[in-house]
Amino acid sequence: MQKITREVLIEKAASLLNEGVVSGVLGWKQGEFAYDVTPALFTTVDELNEQFVWGDFCGANFSKYLVAHTRKTQSKVLVFLKPCDTYSFNQLLTEHRFDREKVYAVGIPCEGMADVSKVKAIAGEGITAIESTEEGLAVTTLYNDAPVVIAYEDALAERCINCKSKKHVAYDELIGEEGDVLESGRFDQVAALEAMTPDERFAFWQKELSKCIRCNACRDVCPACTCEKCVFNNPVSGAETKAPMGTFEEKMFHIIRAFHVAGRCTDCGECSRVCPQDIPLHLLNRKFIKDINTHYGEYQAGAEVGSRAPLVNYTTNDVEPGDVFERGEENA
């Protein structure tokens, strides 16, 4: 359950709109059901009062929307940022992807977001209402006589179970209490994969990636994927592809994408959230993050604006490429 209420956010947004500080508000809009929240731009207080929501299904990260939005407008936009979103925000600024002057960032605390597929796995299909109560999510369905109460930790999205930080690394204004960078188990699964034999590991990724339908949702939602023209869409790149051809194409797509965002991925987890086939894509990225930490020292992309990522920087303490090679050999 979120500690900050919708009303507090609306009040903040309304005052900034009324004062003329911002001309629009990027926020979450109520959908058909309790959980299908759509990112939207609100431009009036009435719209906010009618449709703005804040709750346990507001997972969408708005940072990437700022790239397109700040190009279209001369005025400022208010964006609500959860702690993890602020890392993407900073990383995009580091890469000069949007105009900071046109953004009014309000940091908001986040208690972790629920994953509707987990909710459905427990409460069943046919959800007609979800209420956030002290005890947890009270889920009403077509097939249960009484609401099923799901403890928050049981409904928590995987990326939130392994939340890396409750601390905001960027904002103009903060609502609520600031949190801390957390110790998380986010590399546990990567370690488990590393412990596998190469054949087992290949089988794991083969099984997962063969589910890919090449819808590009992971790429299109990814705040690190902001190329003007993706190599996979560019007919003259020689790498333009559109569908899983044979058995390798989708693997190439994901592996190249993971390489391309290496050192820039903040581990926001949007890729896995949007995957229609529930492929744990974030594990590819976490593997890179873990390796970077191991070889070059702890580094969190987006922790600060302008930081030189290890992969685009050089220090005399850097690991020798040969060592990396040997380490690879050991795992082979």
Partner: protein
């Protein structure tokens, strides 16, 4: 529909379902929905021990069976200035797709009207000819379901054979010659049955259908001839503003049928294949010298106008949507045809 005397109802005890599947698989490849370890269903080829999923529906629609995501069309060999074209079309094998829901069964009609109209697409047509559709009535529709809006009865799906799964039995009824043939081959494993159990199940399902959150969804306001009414609607801006331009809705959709044709050079020759494409993609209509749909608003509008206006205009008023709800469940930003219909349709009440 269970019609006593008109169509014969057969039944098979659920305990014998594996035998039934084995018997079908003797003469044809049998595909049915199977759960993965996360409970997500997809069509898999049946083999001894395969357990049919109880999931309401598969993540990907069964359109893959007739219109695969990628499909080789022909090959070329080039030598010097010469080209040799090889027609690689093969006789399709007989196959049975089991457990198709009412919404997806309708999607085949919608695809047929595209692919089997003159000039016929022989790749699709040959698979359609060989495939037998065994549908299964829904018993637990979910909140994203809205097939009824398109006149589909989830309790009485069409297809070559319709089945109903009750507590104890699988009821089967043939609707077509293909279906009769399939059931005739299963005669020994099934027995004559009356319709009571099926009718009871249907009544229960239909009662749930009426209580679904999207039960009252109105299609009246859409259809052929409404291009002018909706094309320039200001609502498109708001509806499309957060669209990522990905292809999720298109690729999980049972009726989206746009495709691309591409060449792949293997080094020993060229394979010309086709693959699903999406009107949501920025490259979809790009030509060497321009693009007639430059903004995501235009691309987004195209997808929904096609389903709600253009398709019905060309196809006797039949909508290009079956209400399966996949796009509702899978869109990364939770934007979908229902929101489009409510927003565009709703403005007329004002």
């Amino acid at each position: 529909m269970c019609l006593k005397g008109v169509k014969r109802m057969r039944k098979c005890a659920l305990a014998n379902l594996d035998k039934l599947f084995a018997a079908i698989a003797e003469n044809a490849d049998l595909y049915l929905p199977v759960n993965d370890e996360n409970g997500a269903a997809s069509y898999k080829k049946w083999e001894e021990g395969t357990e049919m999923s109880d999931a309401l529906n598969t993540v990907k629609s069964p359109k893959d069976f007739f219109f695969p995501q990628s499909e080789d069309l022909m090959t070329f060999k080039t030598e010097g200035k010469n080209i040799e074209i090889t027609d690689i079309r093969e006789e399709s094998k007989d196959f049975v797709v089991f457990g198709v829901r009412a919404c997806d069964v309708r999607s085949f009609d919608i695809l047929d009207r595209v692919f089997i109209t003159d000039p016929q697409d022989s790749y699709y047509a040959s698979k359609r000819e060989k495939g037998v559709i065994v549908s299964m009535a829904c018993t637990r529709p979910t909140e994203t379901c809205f097939c009824a809006a398109f006149g589909i009865d989830a309790a009485a799906p069409k297809g070559d054979v319709t089945t109903w799964k009750t507590e104890a039995d699988l009821y089967l009824q043939a609707n077509t010659e293909k279906g009769e043939k399939l059931l005739a081959a299963l005669e020994a494993l099934t027995e004559e049955a009356d319709c009571a159990a099926v009718e009871a199940q249907q009544a229960k399902t239909r009662a749930i259908m009426e209580k679904l959150p999207l039960a009252g969804l109105d299609t009246e306001q859409f259809g052929g001839g409404k291009t002018k009414e909706y094309f320039d609607a200001p609502e498109w801006k708001e509806l499309s503003q957060s669209c990522l331009g990905c292809g999720t809705c298109t690729f999980v959709c049972p009726t989206c049928q746009c495709y691309d044709i591409k060449d792949f050079n293997t080094g020993r020759g060229v394979i010309r294949y086709r693959c699903w494409d999406s009107c949501m993609y920025s490259e979809f209509t790009r030509m060497a010298h321009g693009n007639n749909r430059n903004s995501q608003l235009e691309r987004f509008r195209q997808r929904f106008m096609h389903k709600l206006v253009y398709y019905p205009e060309n196809n006797d008023g039949i909508f290009g949507c079956v209400g399966c709800g996949r796009c509702l469940a899978k869109c990364p930003i939770s934007m979908n045809i229902v929101k489009v219909m409510k927003t565009l349709g709703g403005k007329k009440d004002e």
